[in-house]
């Protein structure tokens, strides 16, 4: 299978031959930073456009179609507008925290990028506790939202932030438990191991019905964790104007907006890695011929294809379902998702011990 190891290794060797190890580290970090920011900017532009198009077609409209073919430059123009706008800080706000919060949300989104394998041998940080790292860092984003809500000195912002807190704390549980099912089956927390374990078939096909249930629970919990409809109580336009980012304008608002879409991408990338095999091509057990044909499709295309499929699924939810009330939201988590995923985890453990999976 084609690997990007060759490219990354040659860059490393080229730098090592010319510079001291400290400078190699610094330059490599700079390369990673540039790549990450480029990915963020590209994702922000593409996902917002995609969302508007998906929403439009589901509501029997056409969506943006004036700027460029099918309106693809609409989001670039919107970004330009947001850059030119004034980033207002309200008089009654806590100035430091108010300006600090967008960066917290953004940094958390950036940190989550580290252990994701974008292609075969293309990963920022191949950490041996990758899954644990992700579930630990992803719960930090609520702190940024709480800071934003508190510092705004606005009742809508505070209510939105508090709702977001209740929501993320509870949905972390079922998201974590559904991630655990895959960890139980793989026996490793490392992203590369999880991907390699799916060489002869993705977990969603190998793990029978319990893994499908875990996948559904993960998608529901991921939707809730990213504060998207039908779980967008933290924003809830019709109730709280814009929730925690009511008082934000200009580029500070854009950072929240961007972080939301980056978070969607990241949870979908994690879902794709755990359940749909990450960059692993579609393999069927021992069909060597078929597997070989599938290997010709580059691994990054597989990864982004799966991720964008999951993103589409989450967008589909958003433009179909009405928003839940806060008590319904907590009911769903504590009365349905949590018991089901606990029982499901037991089943998966049984499957893993008895070696019933393929």
């Amino acid at each position: 299978m084609y690997s990007l190891h060759a490219i990354t290794n040659s860059v490393q060797n080229w730098l090592n031959a010319r510079l001291s190890s400290t400078w190699v580290l610094i330059i490599e970090s700079l390369i990673v930073i540039v790549l990450a920011i480029a990915l963020f900017a590209a994702l922000g532009l593409i996902l917002v456009w995609l969302e508007r198009k998906v929403a439009a077609h589901m509501q029997i409209r056409l969506g943006p179609n004036r700027l460029g073919p099918a309106g693809i430059f609409q989001t670039s123009a919107d970004t330009l507008k947001l850059i030119l706008k004034e980033g207002l800080t309200p008089d009654g706000a806590d100035k430091f925290l108010f300006n600090f919060a967008p960066f917290v949300v953004m940094i958390v989104a950036m940190l989550l990028l580290a252990p994701i394998a974008f292609a075969n041998g293309f990963q920022i940080w191949n950490i041996n506790i990758g899954v644990l790292y992700i579930s630990a860092i992803s719960s930090l984003s609520v702190i940024g939202i709480l800071i934003a809500g508190w510092a705004s000195n606005n009742k809508y912002s505070l209510l939105g932030a508090m709702r977001s807190g209740a929501q993320i704390v509870s949905y972390e549980l079922s998201a974590g438990l559904s991630i655990l099912t895959i960890v139980v089956l793989t026996g490793s927390l490392q992203m590369t191991d999880i991907v390699q374990a799916q060489q002869n078939g993705w977990w969603i096909f190998k793990g029978h019905i319990p893994v499908i249930i875990a996948f559904i629970i993960f998608i529901i919990a991921a939707t809730a964790e990213t504060n998207r409809a039908p779980f967008d109580l933290a924003e809830a336009e019709s109730e709280l104007t814009a929730g925690f980012h009511t008082e934000y304008s200009g580029m500070k608002f854009a950072l929240f907006f961007l972080a939301e879409y980056i978070n969607i991408f990241i949870v979908c990338a994690i879902g794709a890695t755990l359940f749909l095999g990450g960059w692993m091509p579609f393999h069927m057990g021992n069909w060597t011929q078929f597997n070989h044909v599938m290997d010709f499709i580059p691994s990054s295309i597989w990864f982004f294809g799966k991720t964008f499929f999951l993103i589409f699924l989450i967008m589909w939810f958003r433009w179909t379902f009405p928003r839940l009330r806060v008590d319904q939201l907590l009911n769903l988590e504590w009365k349905y998702l949590l018991p089901v995923s606990l029982f499901n985890l037991l089943l998966v453990t049984l499957i893993a011990i008895m070696n019933w999976h393929f």
């Binding site: 077609h57 589901m58 029997i60 056409l62 939810f317 433009w319 179909t320």
Partner: protein
Amino acid sequence: MFIKEYISEIAKATKSLWTGMKLTGHYFVRPKTVITQQYPDNRDTLKMADRFRGEVTMPHDENNQHACTGCTACELACPNATIKVITKFELTPENKKKKALDTFVYHLDMCTLCGLCVDACPSGAIQMGQNFEHSVYDRSTLTKKLNKPGSKIREGVE
């Protein structure tokens, strides 16, 4: 039994959610279902509904004749004083004085396009037009004179 109820509830919820997703998915994969009008592009072929109320117009026939008797019923019916009918007295062939329309002033900028004037008109002299592109650079151009210069009342309209 509790467990049975619990599971059937989950199944019911899943089914109803899937029903909704099926509908939006149906629309998503069929771009032909899009119902929005691509307005500036289809200006030439745009067909407004018959009951669309764009502006008040006074139709004139080929002899430059209208059907307005100057009775001011429309002016009285108008809830926000959009219409001002100025009348004059004309001499009939029998040398009798007769009330006739001089100027039909229509303030489009004050009009809510409710159509009450059209309903009130006893002779069917005014109608709601289909034109809706009313934006202008000068507000005074929105005050319109609806009867054309030199126009007369049609024979036989009382």
